[in-house]
């Protein structure tokens, strides 16, 4: 260990001496995202394009690496009590905010307090409801006491919203973000571009390599691809699936793809008719051909799955067959449930999410032969959040990857899960038992077995149909070096440089 540290120190010293030279060659990276950044305040972020900014400007206490393991970030290490209820994080020393002030334990407390405040409206608030109390042990040590044991607590600090922010600049974060990240804020023109420049005092020596990053907001896919081709752009973040083939076919471009556990789903609200009858839900699930849906919605750039657990994960239940779409069987189930002639239902889709809109139309088409007439209603996203999600009977929704299998599954399928009540109102004591058991599983085998049963039960009870997990693809110019796509869809540019 010591040896490795020394080696790293030597390496970084070497890198450091080379930075001046390298920086010049590295230059500016021009990145496109597909929609506007609503806020630059990490606690309030909700969209993928905003998370791009979050990972350029800020750090968490921990970081989820590209191989999905948990790495130190602002915390150099952490420990927990045997009962998993007391967690202590030891912060790195000498880490400076872009304002020049050193980051300390008080900043961490201020950050979390702010996320917990309801008026902030952070989606990460539910994550930290588990915190009973927290305190600064000294200037660089923070201790959290939890209400109940939780082994995944450190992962929460690698999450998107839990970026550590300076306690003395909380009110101006939305427009003038100050963080500890590899890049510091220069300017933001809503609808047009955000510019960030290299943080010269970044705590990881020798990084970042780029001098400047320009994030351009270009909603039109065709424009993004054209600009990539002509060299006006270097990187198109989260390329829509329909553009991937075109990028692959262009000689100076690469399509960097990585499987994720980001999913879209067909939600069937168990408190509404006719979906309160499990036979109806099962009939819908039976009628849907997941492979076909993956083709229609994602042009094949995704993988059919049972639940949010992706097929790329060891816990994925391989023995369970993927639904192939059997309208005749579905019809029979509907007849048993008292709908021999099918029924008519409105399916709501949020506007502006292309894959979810296509998923909605695919469902409409695939349920036709089963006798279910689906009227697709596209609604603006704010209306969707207010009137549809958790309230309507039948709608399309979707969620980004979560860092662990527990955080990917528990909140949706456990009867007391935080998303459950606001999505499909699913409750099955057997499922609760499996999920609680998995949290305390003593071995990988046991966890794998339990999650295998979770998937089987999720398919059988069908609170919704999760047809696929999405591949995250970045369109990258051949000039760009050192870039890999991250399964959490984060944009990690620390090691990236641009050649000529």
């Amino acid at each position: 260990m010591v040896k490795r540290l020394v080696a790293r120190a030597v390496l970084s010293a070497f890198l450091l001496s080379g930075t001046a030279l390298a920086a010049q060659a590295a230059g500016t990276l021009k990145v496109a995202v597909d929609s506007n950044l609503n806020t630059l305040d990490p606690a309030k972020m909700k969209g993928g394009q905003e998370y791009v900014a979050a990972y350029l400007l800020f750090n968490g206490l921990t970081a989820i690496a590209a191989d999905m393991t948990l790495k130190p970030d602002l915390a150099e290490r952490w420990e927990h009590s045997a009962d998993l209820k007391t967690w202590t994080f030891f912060l790195k020393k000498g880490v400076k905010f872009h304002s020049g002030r050193e980051m300390d334990a008080e900043d961490v407390l201020a950050t979390i307090t702010r996320i917990q405040d309801k008026a902030t409206g952070s989606t990460a608030r539910v994550n930290f409801e588990i915190v009973e109390s927290m305190k600064a042990v000294d200037s660089h040590t923070v201790e959290f006491t939890l209400k109940s044991p939780y082994s995944g607590f450190a992962e929460l600090f690698g999450e998107r919203q839990a970026r550590i922010v300076p306690r003395d600049a909380l009110d101006t974060l939305a427009s003038n973000p100050v963080g500890t990240g590899p890049f510091q804020f220069v300017s933001f023109a809503p609808g047009d571009r955000m510019v960030v420049k290299r943080n010269p005092t970044y705590f990881e020596a020798g990084l970042p390599k780029l001098d400047e990053v320009v994030i351009r907001i270009l909603p039109e896919t065709a424009s993004q691809v054209a600009a990539l081709t002509t060299g006006e752009l270097d990187l198109a973040w989260n390329l829509p699936p329909e553009a991937v083939d075109k990028v692959k076919a262009t000689s100076n471009l690469k399509a960097e793809a990585v499987p994720t556990s980001t999913w879209d789903g067909v939600i069937m609200n168990g408190t509404t008719k006719p979906f309160d009858d499990v036979r109806v839900r099962r009939a819908v699930a039976t009628a849907l051909d997941k492979q076909a849906i993956t083709q229609i919605a994602l042009f094949g750039y995704g993988t059919p799955t049972h639940s949010p657990i992706p097929p790329s994960h060891p816990y994925f239940n391989k023995d369970l067959p993927i639904a192939k779409g059997d309208p005749a069987a579905a019809k029979k189930m509907l007849a048993e449930a008292g709908y021999p002639n099918g029924f008519e239902v409105t399916l709501y889709t949020p506007a502006g999410r292309a894959t979810r809109e296509r998923l909605g139309l695919a469902v409409r088409e695939l349920l036709k032969p089963a006798g279910i007439t689906v009227n697709v209603q596209r609604v603006p996203f704010d209306v969707f959040l207010k009137d549809i999600e958790g309230k309507a009977g039948f709608y399309i929704d979707g969620f980004f990857s979560r860092p662990t299998i527990d955080t990917s599954v528990y909140p949706w399928y456990h009867s007391r899960g935080s998303w459950n009540a606001a999505l499909w109102n699913y409750s099955n004591p057997a499922m609760d038992k499996l999920l609680d058991g998995a949290r305390q599983a003593s071995s990988e085998e046991e966890a794998k077995k339990l999650y295998g049963e979770v998937q089987a039960l999720a398919v059988q009870d069908a609170p919704g149909v999760i047809p696929y997990v999405i591949n995250h693809v970045n369109g990258v110019s051949a000039r760009v070096q050192g870039f890999t796509s991250h399964p959490m869809m984060f944009l990690d540019l620390r090691n990236v440089s641009v050649g000529q």
Binding site: K118, A189, P190, R193, P219, E220, A227
Partner: protein
């Protein structure tokens, strides 16, 4: 003329006040709400209520309107709820970009449209005339966004001559700045040129038949001088008023054009605001676009009245 102008301005102010009330009420009636937008997926009712109170959205409508209107009169357009920034600077930046589009497009339309109209009038019934009519028919036959897509296809995808979307600030250099303007401007020009060319043509034809022009020709003046000095000057007046109206139309039309070209102007700002239910931003954007539209129309009326003194003594709303 001064009195007429002042009367019209006073009247415009009244219309704008009523309009602002209408905008305010309509935006209040929109479904969805900003508190749940800010709170995001699965926020509990208390969270949404807390945000509602924080933003003052629980106050009576009249209070909210009063606050808003008073702010506008002091040059404060409010704060964007979603972006958490004052609306005015964002709006001004977007407006300036849209204005660049509008002004350049209008300049091109003026030069080419009038030129084509004159050419068609002078060569009435001949090839040039037919071509101008044909092209102008094409220009208005399909919606502007269709032309936009065709242009993107030709110049962006196949020829790769021009960027097909986005904006480059002038600080990046003149060429990048200008190259991002070309396609949106050409689209706007295609949309507007037909009317200008046809109008110029018909008023030119009328003027060319007047005794005034016949007299100038009889005097033995060269044809060029007759057309430019005598005929065009008189024929242009109706065209100029239409150009003023067109300026207002462009400001409305940018909503669509800016979408196709990912151009960060007023139009996309408005759509963004509507999608995020950012009421102060929606209200301010609509107010500014509509005010500019009204001013352009007023300019057209005033120009027309200036040319045609009969109007001044007639009704206010000519």
């Amino acid at each position: 003329m001064l009195l007429y102008t002042l009367t019209r301005l006073a009247y415009l102010a009244m219309v704008l006040v009523v309009m602002s009330i209408l905008v305010f009420l309509v935006t209040q009636a929109m479904p969805g709400d900003v508190a749940s937008m800010i709170a995001g997926q699965f926020a509990s009712k208390e969270v949404i209520d807390a945000i509602t109170v924080k933003l003052g959205l629980d106050q009576p409508l009249i209070v909210q309107y009063g606050r808003w209107a008073a702010g506008i009169l002091q040059g404060d357009l409010g704060r964007s709820l979603v972006l958490e920034q004052p609306v005015a600077p964002i709006l001004m930046e977007a407006l300036s970009r849209s204005l660049v589009l509008a002004v350049v497009a209008l300049a091109v339309v003026t030069v080419i449209g009038i030129g084509a109209g004159v050419l068609a009038a002078v060569r009435r019934g001949r090839m040039a005339d037919q071509m101008v009519s044909g092209v102008s028919y094409l220009g208005i036959a399909v919606p502007d966004f269709f032309w936009a897509i065709v242009l993107v296809l030709i110049f962006g995808s196949y020829l790769k001559w021009l960027p097909t979307g986005g904006y480059a600030p002038l600080a990046d250099g003149f060429v990048p700045w200008a190259s991002h303007l070309v396609l949106p401007v050409v689209t706007l020009v295609l949309m507007l040129i037909a009317r200008i060319a046809r109008l110029t043509r018909s008023s030119m034809i009328d003027v060319l038949q007047t005794n005034y022009v016949k007299y100038a020709r009889a005097k033995g003046l060269p044809e060029k001088v007759v057309i430019v000095r005598h005929a065009l000057r008189n024929a242009l007046l109706p065209t100029i008023t239409v150009l003023a109206i067109d300026f207002g139309l462009i400001l409305g039309g940018v909503v669509v054009i800016e979408t196709v070209f990912s151009f960060p102007g007023m139009g996309r700002l408005l759509l963004f605001a509507i999608q995020r239910h950012d009421l102060p931003l929606i209200q301010a954007t609509i107010l500014i676009i509509s005010t500019a539209y009204c001013l352009a129309n007023l300019a057209a009326d005033l120009l027309y009245a200036f040319v045609n003194p009969k109007i001044r003594h007639g009704m206010g709303n000519a």
